[in-house]
Subunit: 345 residues, 2 copies
Amino acid sequence: MGTKRVTLAQVAELAGVSVMTASYTYNRPERVSDHARAKVLAAADTLGYAGPDPSARSLRRGSTRTLGVVMGEHLSYAFDDPEAVSFLAGIADVCAEQGYGMTLLPITGAADDVPRIHNAAVDGFIVWTTSDDDPVLTAVQATKRPAVIHSGPAVRGLELVSIDNRAAASAIGAVAFAGARRPAILSFPLSRARISTLTEGGNLGEITFPVTRDRLEGYRRAAEEAGFGWHEVVVAVCARNEAAEAEQVAATLLASARPPDAIAAMSDQQAAGVIRAARAAGVAIPDDLAVTGWDDAAVAEQLGLTTVAQSLREQGAACAHVALGQGRTVRTAAWSVVRRGSTRR
Amino acid sequence: MGTKRVTLAQVAELAGVSVMTASYTYNRPERVSDHARAKVLAAADTLGYAGPDPSARSLRRGSTRTLGVVMGEHLSYAFDDPEAVSFLAGIADVCAEQGYGMTLLPITGAADDVPRIHNAAVDGFIVWTTSDDDPVLTAVQATKRPAVIHSGPAVRGLELVSIDNRAAASAIGAVAFAGARRPAILSFPLSRARISTLTEGGNLGEITFPVTRDRLEGYRRAAEEAGFGWHEVVVAVCARNEAAEAEQVAATLLASARPPDAIAAMSDQQAAGVIRAARAAGVAIPDDLAVTGWDDAAVAEQLGLTTVAQSLREQGAACAHVALGQGRTVRTAAWSVVRRGSTRR
DNA sequence: CTGTTAGCGCCTTCAA
DNA sequence: TTGAAGGCGCTAACAG
């Protein structure tokens, strides 16, 4: 249709004032006389002008009042992980309060992720934890806009908001492995290849997810302090953070010749899968099998799961504050071990 | 710091080419000689140029390649509702596939919501169901950009993607109320005031949420076809769509002088609350109390809940397609009744 | 394949 | 309180 976009200039002309008066009407109404303001608004109304064009305004002002959020791999996976959703909610809280928009950047894992980062009209970025070698990190860095990474990796020039994963894993591992004879770990993937493996301790190859790396190191310390050699610890690496895969892996472990009697998982979702597998196999928790999770999600309380409590929502909010340059926020977040009935006393 | 933003013009100058050649290097690389392209990229690299500024590009091109999503009231509530999250995931699927960003607009319910809509640098809007009188609708309409409303209300000039809520309520109501003597309904709020009420059928006052209105009409038809007068039907209006509030309301109903023996709820979350209340009160399902939900969420299968199945994820995707002008999408979405053990045979 | 011109719509700066 | 000029950084439309 011929309905061209209405501009401020047209409004000003119809109102019989200069463009600047019209502009002030929207941006500094107090600096315009009531008379002029009324004329401008009337003209805007008859022309159907909905206010200054956001792109033009962003260009002129040098700021978009929008934060970009990168959730890793497939954007929609983010919505399948309840903890990721909490994290987003924390960002949303801050954005709503400050009048910022939040743009979720669609990442697919393919080569076109990088231009997508560059093309995002945002003032800063928040990046959900990823691998050391994720090209998204370089792309974000190249934009030179403020950016915060959640949980890692640490990248030069970018902020980091995280808990101390190694210390927390060490603490929860101590609870998980207490009184055990055959400790096992259910791990997140080691690298972006997301290969499932089952290793009897020892060398796991290269680990590029820093969160996985830190937690494994913490568990290792806990196992060693409980008197185990690292080679005695079974490490089952899952491709994804899902209850279903964890259940299957746990079932395999429990049916093996030397079934574990303690399993430390990296999420409550995984731990829930372990508990289902134990029930199906008739294995008693915690006597025959101690189980620990991570996050203290809703499911942890329902299942009486010993876990690491942390607030992803608060961490999301902290990331948003840092990305907005309100850096008074704590960058090292709090965690604690919550003991419930899934571990031995 | 003095580190001014690097512009394409500076890159071009350093590379010894015109600005257009530099621009083409980014937008139509195939139209530039290898030699020139290499020079431009080298210059960009030494200057630390990260590619064309997105705001300037949007202004020039007249398009932002971003969709705006309005989730109603407090943005972060959206993340607390699993069905809303599915809906967002559906939008995210399409955005990722088409290389669009999705901007979640921070809505607070206060007066500044309207300017926030106007200030959003987006090509189109998707609005999560709201009330007839929500000022956001007028604001979206005023932008003259393509917009889709999910579930309603229907607004002149805006698209609508929805199931037939009245027909679905009528169908599920027939199952819920079959063999019952005292039917009850657990309703979403009637208006943005979100007042909880308990009415013995009859006049509910003005209902401005079209989804609530349509479903109540459907339930009413089901009740009447089952031989009840509308005044015999208890309608408990909840302020929010939450299990906790529904549980409390259901507990009150079940403890009353004339407890219901059938409760049709407007969501699976609410129905889950009802089931908890029934268990606590020692009321047998379905014999003493039939319960129905809505959405066929994960919890419905766990609880054996009879419910209305619909895919919010698909509906989110459909909204995105329509907002992008790929209108070949079905605007009337599919639904079906899933019978499980929570209702009488 | 490369370059010139002319704005996109707005708001900061400066002057009246 | 109002206005005139200029340019934010980029790319469509057209030459060459």
